[in-house]
Every structure is written in C-alpha cells, then in structure tokens.
Symmetry: C3
Subunit: 436 residues, 3 copies
C-alpha cells in the first residue's frame, strides 16, 4: 500500500542512522573476507546451488575459490531469484564495482577488485563504519576463546554455550571445560563452578554483553533439583548410560544454572530457537540445517522468564509460525526483548510480517533490529540493505494508515537500529569510545 | 496495493454503517468510564507499560487515576508505537479534544474534559449511538447476575459459563450455582438441571442471545457417557480426588450438555479459543494472559459441530496460526460462523490477514465483524476505528484486483458490521425497538 | 505496494505464456463439462452453498442441473464474496458470454450457451489450448485404469496410489490389485510385485510422469523391515486383527517401497499433504473434507528424501502454517520441488504469501506453478486467472522493491508456468508432439 516515493524517502533517512548489529560470527581479528569467493561461499548460497542441481563435487570439491565460482557459473541463473542471491550481487555492486549480473562476463573483474580491496588496510573498518554506519557488532565466541586485544570500540563478545547445555553429558565437553578453565571437574558442582568462571571472565575480562545459545525445537526447560542433576552428571561422567529423560533433566538444570550466571554477570541471555541440525545429510556445512515447529517451544520458557526477572532474555525464532506467540511474550514479559529475523526468517516478506506485528503489539523499546548473522563483514552490507528496506516499507505503511507520523516512524527506526540494543546490551558506558 | 484514495473513500462509507458489537464486557447499568483514567487503565495498556519498564508499584500502586497517569508520563513514549496506544490517543482525540500527543502538556486538559463529559447524562448513549452508530452491544454476564431493567434496545446479554465447565469440580462452583438458582445440587443431574434453569432464565427472562466460554488451547471435547460423568461429579462433590483424565471427561460431558442447552434455548454458542491464563505472573490483572497453540484446538470441536447442527457456533481464536484452519471450518460447517478478531489478534495486520482470507474462503453471511471486547464504551471508539480501516483496506484491495465491484464491497461491509450479527443472534425481532 | 499499472502490464505478459498444469482430475476421454451445471457442481461451490444455509435436499436432491441452479438462485448472493464464486462467474464470462452477475436474469442464457458450446467438437481443446495456452495437463489415474488412446500431446497421466498405502490392509484392495494385474497375491512380496507391474505399465505403456498420493496430517514415514511388514500383511490378508501401530508400519513400508518404484521407473513422486477426510459429515461429496496441522507432517519425510536422492519429490500442502517449513525443505533438498497451491491454499492471499516466500527462499528452478486440481477443463480458466494475477502481483512487488528487473520477473514467470514442470516431469521428449 505505501507509495514508492514515501518508502524511498524513509529509506533514505533510515540508511543514514547508526546501527548495532546484534548477532554475527565475525572474527574479531579478521572481520572481512579475503576475496569475493569467501563471500560467495556463504552456506545460504552453497545450499541453493546444490539444491538447484549443481553437482556436489563441482561445488564442494573445487580446489580454489576461483574454481568454485567458475564451476558455478552455469548454475547461477537457477538461483537468481532468491533474496540471498540478490544480497550477493548487492555486495558486489556496493563494494566491488559490479554492473549488471554477476556471471561469465563480470565475475573476473569482481574477483580482481575484491582481492585488491579486501586486502587494503582498514578494509573491514571501512565496510562496517563508513559504508554501513554500524557502531558495534556483537560476536559469537566459544568459551575457550581468548579475546585479548579485540577492538572494543567495534565489537562486543557473546559467550556461546551450546555444547555446555546440549552436549553436557559428553566427556569431551567436560574435558574441554577443564582445559579452558584449568579447573578440575569431578562433579556437577565443579562443572558449574568452572563454567561460572568462564561467564565471569567473559564479562569482566572481555567485556561480553551476552551469552547465547541455539536451542532445538523440542528443547524443554523446567526446574530440576540440584541433587537429581548431580547424580545424572556423575553417571554421565563415569561413562554410564543416561536415559533420554535424565539427559533432558540434566540439560534443563544447567540451562537454569547458566541463566543465573547471566544474572550474576549482568549478561543478556540470547536464545535462538528452533533449528534442526543436519536435516539434509549430503549438504554443504550448515547448508543442511532447517527447522520444524514444536508447539511448546516458547511455552517451555515461561517458567524461566518468570523466575529470572533480572535477566534480559533476547529471543529470536526460526519459524514464522510462532512469531505471533513470541510477540505476545515480548508484549507482556518486561524481561523479554525480541531480536531481529534469523536465518530462514531473514527474508523480505518474513521480516515485513514480523516487523509489522511487533510494531503493533510490542513496546518499541523491546525490539532489537539488525541481526545480520554474518560470517564476513561484507555480508552485513546485504543484510542491512534487505532489513532497512523492509523496515522502511513497514513504517511507510503505518504512515499512510495515519497510525504513525513520519517523525514517529523515524524515531521508531532509530530505536530499533541503535538505541534499543545500546540500552539492552549496556553499550552506553562504552559509547565514548565509539565514533558519534 | 490499494490506492489511498480508494481506501479513504470506502472507509468514509463504512464508517456511516450501523454496527452490532458481538462481544464486550460493558456494564449495562454504567457503560462508560468515569474519566480518562478508567480508559487509560485498560489491561492492554497496563501490560505494555510494565513491559516497557515502568515499575510495578508506580503503575499499580498509584492511589488515584490522576497519580497513575502522572507516574506513567515518562514511560508513554516507550509504548507510543503500539496499536493500543494509538487507540487510546484516538479516543482522547475523538471524545476529549486531544490535539497532538497525550503527555505532559496535554493530559490534564484531557482529564478535565473527560471528567466533565463522562458524567453528562446520556454520555454512553452518545458514544455508542451517535458517535459509533452501534445498534446493539453484546454483553458478558455471569450466571448469577440479575439483568432486570437493562436497556434492550441497546444491549443483548451473553451468558458466560467458564466456571461451569473449567471449574466444575470445585465445591464453590456448585455452591454458587445453588445460590444463584435456589436449587439443591446433590448429583450431576441436579447440577445440570440448575444450570439448565440459568440458561432458561437468561433466554426467556433476560433476552440473552448467546452463551459464551473461553477455552484454553488444550481443552478437549468428546462425548462422555452420563453415568461416567455422574460418578466423577459425585467424587468431586464429596471432596475426593479426581484425576486429570476424569476431570477432562467431566468437563467435556458438561460442555456437551450446555451445548444442548444452547440448542433448547435458541442461543448461539460463542467459543473463544486459546487463552493461557497467568503466563506472566507479576502482571497487572489480565495483563499476564497470553496464548499458545495446540494443534488439536479446533479439531477437537468437529464432533460437537456435527452432533449439534441446530446450534450456531460462533468461533474466534487467539492465535494467527489456526486462522486458516478456522476459515476452512467456517467454509464447510453450516453451523459455524466466525467472529471478529480477539485480543492478540485485534491488531491491524492480523485483522487484515484474517479478513482477506475469510472474505476469499467463507460465504460472507457466515462472518461477524466487530468484536470490541471493550470494558468501557469509550474503547469501542478505538476498536471501531482500527477494525473499519482494516476492513476498508481489504475491500479496496479486492476492488483493485477486480474481484469485487465497489458496490459489492460495501454490501460485504454492511453484512459484516450489521446484517450478519442481526441474523445470527436473532436480533431482528427487537429491531423495531432500535433506532433506524 | 505495486502500482496497478505495473501489475496489469506484467499480467498481460504472463497471460501469454505457455502453461503446464501439474495436477488435475480431467477425464482424458471427455475433458470438458456437458453444460454449465457441471461447472456449477464443483464441490467448492456445493460446500459454500450448504454452508451459507441452502437446504441439503434442495441442492443435492435436485434431479437435473437446471433444477439445482434454479434452486440455488436465492442463495447465490450469500456466497458472492468468495474466490470460488468469482471463479465461477469468470468462467461464465470468458466462455459463455455472461454479462453482470450470474443469477435470475442471466443464468438461462448462460446455460443455453454452455450447452451449445460444450458440445462443439474440439471444445476442450479450444479451452485448454486456445483460451489458456496450457500445453500439457497432468491427470489423476487409478491403478486399474486403461489409458490406451489418450492424447499424449495434451495430457500426462499420474498414477494415483492412495488406497495402495492407506487401505493396504483391506482385502478389497488386494483383490482389486489382483484383478488389475492378473497376478496372484499371497504375500507382501506378491503384492509389491503386482503393484510394481502397475508402476511399470503406467510408465512404459502409458507414459505416466508421476505417481501421486494424498496423505493425512498424521501420516508417519519411517523405514520398516521387510520381514516385519510381511508378517503384518499376512495377518491382514488372513483377516486377522492388525493394531494401529502395525498398520502404521505396514503403510510406511509400502510407502518406501513405492518410492523405490518411482525411482526405478523415473517417476516424480507427488505428495499432497494434510487433508482430513469427512470432517463435516452431512456434506456434499468432497465438500466435507478439511485439514488440520500435525507439526511433524513434513519432518516425517526427511528420512525418505535423504534415502532417495534420485527421486524428485513434488510437494504441496493443505495449510498455510507449514508453508515456511516446506519452503526450507525446497531450499535445501535437491530432490524436493514445491508445487502450486492446493485446495484450501488456492486462494489469492494464500497464493501470494506462498509465492512471495518461495521466490525469496527457493531456487526458482524448484518451483512448479499451476496446480489447478480441475475436474472439468472449464475450471482451469478460473484457476489460471486467479493464479496468474497473484503471480503478477508478487512479481510487481519484487520489481518495485528493485529486487527483480522486469525481465527477470517475466523469466521467473515462464519458469514457473512452463519450463520447470517440463524439466521436472521430463516432458521435453514429447515436446515435438506439442504445438510450439
Ligand atoms: Zn548465528
Ligand atoms: Zn472478552
Ligand atoms: Zn486433486
């Protein structure tokens, strides 16, 4: 419904705003790609090419980035409709001078330009700060990572804890926690102490802002007594059999315990809900993951949110089905904020649907905007382009319906892109460091 | 897609049409607010303010309406994006002369105007009839209410029976039914007789048009033998333990029995599906309710609808997920009509999505439009504004797609807003009483 | 959002494109209606009329087509809003000279015209080829059908196998397979051999392109050992009791076995997911079917898709809920293509939502467009009209958002309507036969 002119005018304003990127996998010590083949190698694109009929060995067996792209050329038209492919071409246009379609006639120039530009000193800073006006980028960091020396004016770590919950019964998890902390683990209590020290280090030594975990659709969260969990842990540690139900109890106990660590350390707990791993087996890495919907995926978190009013939970979800239920949670729980649009929901139509609903239902201060999930900073260019357009379209719709004035619309945009994440992740203190 | 001009033209026509409001909680003897603080106190707004960070005691501990609003002033921008807040400001604009935003600079004038206007004699009639052209408002009435003397040209009662199903195992329910009916209850048969007399009184003494119940997502409906239910009821009455499964059987038996009472008394059975109570525990009253989705929430009603072809079931649902399934039921069951947009689905985007789908799938005569759920008649102003805009947008879309002529579009609107509820709730007979 | 002008321009182009119709119930030896009452008798319309209050006996008890229409006249306005009714009138406008609404004043002329035209020699060819530019129409054929002599330039058979899975435990199924094949069935192995010969005959004698089955929402697919299934089959054949779980195992075993037959014979396996039969009991034939959503309806197919990479699975689904999950499957599984918009999802809004999502997420070469599900070729006129408009609207949106150029948009349309189904169903070889 909104007129093209209004959308473009709002978009122009939105694209000048400062941004916080609430979730990425950027490497803090090497945030950019080496050349366009890294960008091309994004698992979204790999999955689409295989799906569109490109033979597995031609794509994944390629020895070099150049060879991979060259092999893919005949298959590119077959994915030329997807939002991912549009994003890839947009990166090439914005950063590497692409004119027209990426293909036979153009790819070598793009490759050459990318090789040159990506290796310029300060390239990632140019992309992140100059091109995108992203003021802070959240990272994803393993518990055994050493973050000494990362640029605090640019990045903020997030302590990723998936294996500490989902593989808590495996001896190798315990071993690696021991190694990372130098603490001996002979019991559940030891394990929690060691993990607690990781949380403390991330917060106090590394300036982490959040802990993050991706949970499968059927994850169930419920309070489990310490003593019960301790016995199960002992059994797992001793290599004895743990039943499915025991494993569920142990996981949930630890999940609650880590929530308490978030509380103790003032960390936001970022929950990414709904992924099923390795759905398609013969896939490129990460390219075979998908999702399904368990009707209790959100319901199971209610008790936790009620018990930890002091922890800010930042939720995102991998399906469109439960968007509405999530919006209701964001509306009623003061400690529940809602983030971005993740993976299979990061598509223009799904973003617009979610944003429209959230802007209608949830206090605007509870919404975080950009959630790029980028592995290379160049991909953030595409994500920002798609997200800001969807945002401008939603806002324009509200303006035309007379629900928002244009001023309110732009204020909302600024809240989503910048002020809310600053508020939720406690980035104010560091703001002096950042460019203003 | 529809042009703004077409939307506004249709909206102008739609807003002149007579309306039936199919569900409210208005008090028949005092339908309006005392002043704007009653309107401000709507649980939608209370929930949003708490969620947006307003401290619980500042909001809910305020001693007066004035104090509550004054305390809330700094938090208002934080919810200024929501459809609820737009509705509140719209009420203040339409009824109390608000210009600009409701806040520091304006609230006292609005308050003063509201105090004056709300106490004018005939104020609620002015709002309902003059401002809104609402010709009949359905109420929500407890089984022990005395409705003698309500204005039949304005209201139509609905017998609300939630505790008679959902708390049928509690001695206090039995006691209160005894008290309300003066009939002794020593068995299930007595209980049903007593409840049957309530249905009869509501229909024949009070002119009720429907019975209504709100059911949780996991409610299951299935035929249960009288003898089985009677034994369970005896056990409950004697204070003995009733298992979950027995309780489920007793509830379902009574649910079927009340359906038969609807049939005997010519009442529509209004089913409001999907609420979960007290999801967020530290909430304002009703502000902590939310919903989840049980895949069998609609499926479970199929047997009932097949067994009682003579009862009109008027369904609404609290999630967007099962809208489509509900539309299919409305399409195929002659005795299933579909009502409005309830609570978490009463948002512009959700209304538009549901309306578009229903107008495509369901014979128009099966659709009831406005379902304001208002507690004060002033809120109906906001609900009508949001609903009619969404309706006009949907109709405009159909007109631009050449699926509807403008005439058909307006005829559809009139059907939804007025003629269908008149037909379904049997309001024709009383029409002489109503203004035309 | 897209401008009306752009939609109409794209629509003009789209409506000139050649089309493959991926699923119908046309009779190859008599593809058209006898007169407009056949077209009127479509179960979508029967269901709507009953639902809108037309008495059962007036509609279904009518002795002639004329009487049925005459009886229905007073009820037509009550369904005049639905997409189905628009489709019916569109057929009458396009093929039988209807001006204005179909009703009292016009129906007899339409009837007379339809009687004349439908009996003209080559009428179905005129509709399918001249009016619609449909180059190939997939059929639905029972395993005991003799297709000798059908027009291979116009049609392509699909072997429908519902009873061979869903009623595999019934003696009459076995008996009818014996009769159809002339092969004796005394064991599961015999049964599979017989069914295998049907697959072979369909592919090699009749030129079938696919096998098709409609599965209920709770169907579960998982590998079942031959020996286990054989014992269950023996028990069923002997008329002994088979438990629900055994029946589930037998069904699944056969479902996997038939997938292997698809592989052996180079047939696409068309899975239509989610119908519940006879939801409303007092319905017109097929008019009481609806759907519900089982959260594992798609998940259950993952193993099968992984095990048979050589089979192209063509999926469609009867609810909007799992559209997104289906899109993710279409995105990652090379052997999963996604078809059309089936039954309760064949409505303008649902088509647009699904198309938008699929065009963003799935490589375009994985998408089949038209899936008319027609019983008479005249209905294809309505289905094409609705589908192509929704397609043009989606494409126009993408063009206005600058995600697609107009050229790419039209290329996408041609892919969906024609080139993809030609590719998936292997129609190239026969293309010489078809008009170009
Ligand atoms: Zn991530
Ligand atoms: Zn209510
Ligand atoms: Zn079919």
């Amino acid at each position: 419904m909104p007129s093209k002119e209004l959308v473009e005018r709002l978009l122009g304003e939105v694209r000048r705003m400062p941004i916080i990127d609430c979730h990425t996998h950027l490497r803090w010590n090497h945030a950019g790609a080496d050349d366009v083949s890294d960008i091309f190698g994004y698992h979204y694109i790999m999955a689409e090419l295989l799906s569109a009929g490109m033979p597995h060995e031609k794509l994944l067996g390629a020895q070099t980035g150049r060879e991979r792209i060259r092999n893919a050329l005949p298959y590119l038209p077959r994915i030329s409709n997807t939002a991912t492919w549009w994003g890839f071409e947009e990166i090439c246009r914005r950063l590497f001078g692409l004119k027209g379609a990426f293909g036979e006639a153009t790819w070598e120039d793009v490759f050459a330009t990318s090789e040159r530009r990506c290796r310029e000193p300060g390239w990632h800073r140019e992309v992140i700060e100059e091109t995108l006006n992203v003021r802070r980028t959240m990272l994803t960091n393993n518990y055994d990572e050493d973050l000494t020396g990362y640029d605090r004016s640019m990045f903020a770590p997030a302590l990723r804890i998936d294996p500490l919950v989902l593989a808590c019964d495996r001896p190798e998890t315990v071993a690696s926690v021991q190694k990372a902390t130098g603490m001996e683990v002979r019991s559940l209590s030891d394990f929690k102490k060691a993990v607690g020290s990781v949380f403390h280090r991330f917060r106090h030594d590394f300036g982490a802002r959040s802990s993050a975990i991706s949970l499968p659709p059927d994850f169930s969260a419920f309070p489990v007594h310490e003593g019960d969990a301790a016995q199960i842990f002992d059994r797992a540690l001793a290599g004895r059999r743990v039943t499915d139900d025991e494993f569920r109890r142990l996981r949930s106990h630890l999940f609650y315990a880590y929530t308490a660590f978030c509380q103790d350390n003032g960390l936001v707990f970022q929950l990414m809900l709904g992924v099923d791993r390795l759905v398609y087996l013969n896939a490129a890495p990460s390219g075979g993951d998908a999702f399904s919907t368990d009707p209790s995926m959100l319901r199971t978190l209610r008790d936790l949110l009620n018990r930890y009013p002091g922890v800010t939970f930042d939720l995102c979800i991998l399906n469109r089905v439960q968007m509405h239920e999530l919006a209701a949670m964001g509306k009623i729980f003061p400690n529940c904020v809602v983030s971005g649009h993740w993976w299979y929901t990061f598509y223009p139509g799904a973003i617009r649907e979610a944003l429209r609903e959230r802007l209608e239902m949830i206090p605007v201060v509870k919404l975080n905007g950009l959630f790029s999930d980028s592995y290379y900073c160049e991909w953030t260019v595409a994500k920002v382009a798609v997200y800001t357009r969807a945002l401008a379209e939603c806002l324009a719709e509200k303006v035309e319906q007379a629900y928002f004035s244009e001023d309110r619309a732009l204020w909302v945009a600024r809240r989503l892109l910048y002020e809310n994440p600053v508020e939720h992740f406690g980035l104010q203190a560091d703001e002096q460091l950042a460019r203003t």
